[in-house]
Symmetry: C2
């Protein structure tokens, strides 16, 4: 990834504009299709993998259909966990000291380093319960 191209610029910009959402490759593709901007899905997959390796975005696995979602990482994301509702798919960014406690506890007592980006806590949100 040595060259700067229009496609990469556009994809990154779109991810930044949707920091609060987890986007699938399909959603990203459709966004550009509608604007009549041609970006091959191959390019999207390749660039997203690259961004993930660089630690710029985070990849999530969707428990419903085994597809993947990607999300731009903001600094404050480092401090929180993600809750995802099994029913409606809503993602809740939870900032809570309890979770930092848990993280500390698990690394100290169980010798396991939690990855906040990969980890998604599944369950039912207030509406779907």
């Amino acid at each position: 990834m040595k060259y700067k191209t229009k496609q990469k610029e556009l994809i990154l910009q779109f991810l930044k504009e949707n920091k609060d959402k987890c986007l699938t490759v399909k959603e990203i593709k459709t966004n550009f299709d509608l604007k009549q901007i041609i970006i091959g899905q191959t390019t999207i997959y390749r660039y997203l993998s690259n961004l993930e390796e660089q630690g710029i975005i985070s990849k999530y696995i969707n428990n419903v259909d085994n597809s993947s979602s990607y999300q731009y990482i903001t600094d404050d994301c480092h401090l929180h966990f993600h809750l995802k509702c099994i029913k409606c798919g809503k993602i809740i960014h939870l900032e809570c000291l309890k979770l930092n406690d848990l993280e500390k506890h698990i690394i100290e007592k169980h010798d396991f380093k939690i990855d906040n980006f990969k980890t998604v806590i599944y369950g039912l949100c207030s509406k779907c319960k």
Copy 2:
């Protein structure tokens, strides 16, 4: 699923014998192939979905290749979370009062009911750190 068949019996038995493991469809299929017992993968998929709906087994998503694993649910599984190492794929069953605290806290303060079966905490295990 009204009839009792040999295939169902064999699949369930195999899951029970491997309560401590998360099994993929491939692993289940291969197990029977080696024993020269013919069970179509379709049957395995269908029966596993059915068992999951009944709450007898739990389905996990593998972050590496987007495939699924299935595991027989034992009573004590209700009391713990699963940690999964991103590198080596090892699954650790963590029974810890801290987690029960967390569960209680999240439902009381954040109105979110955690699903212990679906939730997998990703990170690095002691060996891979």
